[in-house]
Symmetry: C2
Subunit: 493 residues, 2 copies
């Protein structure tokens, strides 16, 4: 038996167990790769990957130390006597290998894989191989099978609601913060919109980041349900809701890899929405030459896939294909995007008109999910709610009940990127703008970002500023500038 | 500036940096996935992935701790003042994404990827995605490009030799320990055979494991070269030779995943042999319905690929396709395999004849690389060297100069697996036998294994033992038995 110790190290979802190389219980003849062990107490059993330590003061030969994740998972106190043994291979390992070899898996296979991920039987390496293999080739039936496995049995039941709506934009367009405006309008109208959001995978800032600078977005499931009941609209990070535990592990690895494999991402998005109990979902697919989804053909393929999964899961899914030729609004990065949102809701004349129009269009479509609304009245109803100030009032209420935050300050190091020539702006490269933002440190600090001073259709004189980069350190600003040197992202003609 | 600390944790090739969540130098707004930092001193710079620690006694707010790998890489003393900053994305990341998306990469792309792996710019997650994507689809030109990138510029030059030979068996046949017998025969004949070996990826024991129970196989490059010069034959683990640093990182991840993607594995094998300065290489591809390579067609495809890379790299490669319908010899697991090898070299009548014959066949082919040998005399020359006792003498010499080891004892828990019916043995399932051995713990203890008492062609009565399993603990034995229950691996008719 070994004595339990807690090593306060966070490892992003992996359970790690540290033992001394002279461990009294487990003889390490040769650990040449990640070995998984079963850790048992009288009442519980967890799995963890072994790490070997040489320093007796860190972990002695009669101790076993667990990282944050594993320690919480085991739920025992320090000093508890526990035994370990080598774990048999995870039950779904054969299925994983078949997927890597290019085979089609059954819904049952996906259930086993997801169960193993939830039980910490997969290392991040295993998850990465699952993502890359699954993203390379996955059939429509598998997209459903994986989505269904991800939903598991933690679905939220809105017993008091007939219609529960949400919206999601696939496509990584920078500055796409329509969601907050939509939630405020739809909530003010009176439909239940329990909006689940996630950290950005490849873009500069997600709705979670933008809403996160205005108020707290980390709610328990009980609080989430209560707020929807009382206030109709809530915007919350899906992770603390504990509805789709495996999505969290998969997304962490996707975020690290910076991968955006559409079918595979779609399973996570749909699983979150289905598990959140959404009955009517609007999906927006922006198409643009410099966007993640480049052709209408590809967008239609994804539309059909989403509809297929929706039908099999009993969720009404509508898909709209929109223009993705430039960022939405002017600000990119959480603080700047929040500024744009508030300007729109305050009906300021300086508010970005493209953000305003897109939000009204999408909110209108969602309002039409309500059978009581006369057909074709969605847009006008949304516009009226916005212009009357009810939407602003709803956002202020959401911020208040979720827990208002102090607004972070903008990064204090700025640089203006100037037009190299005169002309009209034909297109803005979304991917390049994302890249510049990420190198400027937008993922690390919410006050970092890019403020677009010119948009598609504007004319510009050589030497006029196109946009301003905000960074937190001179190093970060230089990194971002090195990306600008390869391309400033603006196509001027 | 932060004060350097060493955390004695081994992490299998990843550089890890631990900082306190209140770190004075690097403000952690939100680290939601692996972030890579540049760590700089006045004289050196390394990259490491950040881990966050909450315990001040482990890492305080003014300290940064490095794991074994990173600490050795940086080469500074504890207490040194160092600065950190967020690292720009690894230069080859765009190429990695193109590979994941299914594109063909250029040799230059592979050079960048391998350079990033060597510089610790890739996490194990990144390496896993590279392996899965590369193994799913890789063109012949890419196999060459990757092999060439792996060889880098650490190649050993045998200035004093015209012919430098080696042999490698692709295919994971259990018990395949011909290599030691071949090296002894070829060395006794007088050809230089600097045999590089690696830990097992998916089979029970590799030549490195089997030779490793007889003597030390971890040699420095200088000692390796010296021993080949003096003794002709040496069997050494490639890792401490420092010839192909990236292969080590890739193999670790492959071993963890249990992946055997042929083309991808081939690049590692060829890179090791080319970097070891081999001029003439014999590759054995065993084909069997229950082996890794199932058809002659697949074997021929791999043969052509190996020949193509050999020709482009200036190495003479010959490929033989052999019978892979059952394990070679009787013992499976390092100690049992070493027993078989010694029996063959001692010309014992009890020695496994299939191991003897296959070793002579392959050794004969290698001897014919020598222009001085008359065509067709290879086999007879090899047989003569074996029967005269010269090969045994050579092995004893190799063991002595490499550093003899105490033989480990066999696992003390055994179980005989009995024939369920009478008949003739038609086939033995190599994959299943590997699986039984691995679950019995053969990867953890060299004295664990399977002793085959019946081979293909033998007749057996119901109730007679087919093989004996050796394990180190009753738990491991039970695990192995649970695999036997799904199939004992013998096809009896």
């Amino acid at each position: 038996m070994l004595s339990l110790k807690h090593l306060n190290i966070k490892s992003f979802n992996e359970n790690l167990a540290y033992i001394n190389k002279n461990c009294s219980e487990y003889s390490i003849d040769d650990i040449s790769s990640l070995s998984q062990v079963e850790i048992q107490t009288e009442t519980s059993k967890i799995y963890a990957f072994l790490q070997v330590v040489e320093d007796d003061s860190l972990v002695s030969a009669t101790e076993i130390a667990l990282n944050d994740e594993a320690f919480a998972d085991l739920g025992e106190s320090e000093g508890a006597q526990i035994s370990i043994s080598l774990a048999a291979p995870a039950p779904s390992r054969a299925a994983l290998k078949r997927k890597i070899a290019g085979n089609i898996l059954s819904p049952q296979d996906y259930k086993f894989i997801i169960k193993d991920i939830i039980n910490h039987r997969y290392s991040d390496i295993d998850i990465a191989s699952f993502i890359v293999a699954g993203g390379t080739f996955i059939s429509a039936n598998e997209v459903w099978g994986l989505t269904d496995a991800l939903v598991n049995n933690n679905k939220i039941n809105w017993t008091f609601e007939n219609i529960v709506v949400d919206h999601h934009c696939l496509g990584g367009i920078p500055g796409n913060k329509t969601d907050i405006i939509i939630a405020a309008i739809v909530g003010a109208y009176g439909l239940a919109i329990p909006k689940t959001v996630a950290k950005a995978t490849t873009s500069c800032a997600s709705v979670a980041d933008t809403m996160g600078v205005l108020c707290n977005v980390n709610l328990t499931q009980d609080r989430f349900v209560e707020l929807v009941q009382n206030n109709r609209a809530v915007i919350a990070n899906y992770e603390p809701l504990d509805i789709v535990d495996a999505v969290k592990s998969i997304s962490n690895v996707e975020r690290h890899l910076g991968l955006t494999q559409q079918e595979f991402l779609l399973t996570s998005v749909l699983a979150i929405k289905i598990a959140a109990g959404v009955t009517h979902l609007l999906i927006d697919i922006p198409v643009g030459e410099k966007s993640r989804i480049k052709t209408t053909y590809e967008a239609i393929r994804l539309r059909k896939l989403a509809e297929f999964v929706g039908d099999r899961s009993g969720v009404h899914i509508e898909v709209v294909i929109t223009d993705g030729s430039e960022p939405i609004g002017n600000g990119i990065g959480a603080v700047l995007e929040a500024r744009d949102v508030v300007q729109v809701l305050k009906n300021k004349p300086t508010a970005p008109q493209d953000l305003l129009e897109k939000s009204l269009f999408l909110a209108g479509r969602i309002l039409e999910f309500d059978p009581k609304l006369r057909g074709g009245q969605g847009y006008n109803t949304a516009a009226e709610i916005l212009r009357s100030g009810q939407a602003l009032e709803k956002l202020n209420e959401m911020i208040k009940v979720q827990g208002k935050k102090e607004q972070p300050v903008m990064g204090s190091f700025t640089r203006d990127v100037l037009a190299p020539e005169s002309g009209e702006i034909k297109e803005i490269d979304n991917m390049q703008i994302n890249r510049i933002g990420i190198w400027a440190g937008v993922r690390q600090y919410s006050g970092v970002g890019i403020d677009l001073l010119k948009k598609v259709g504007d004319t510009v004189e050589a030497g006029e500023p196109l946009y301003r980069i905000y960074a937190n350190t001179p190093d970060d600003l230089n990194l971002a500038e090195s990306v600008v040197e390869t391309s400033n992202g603006y196509i001027i003609k």
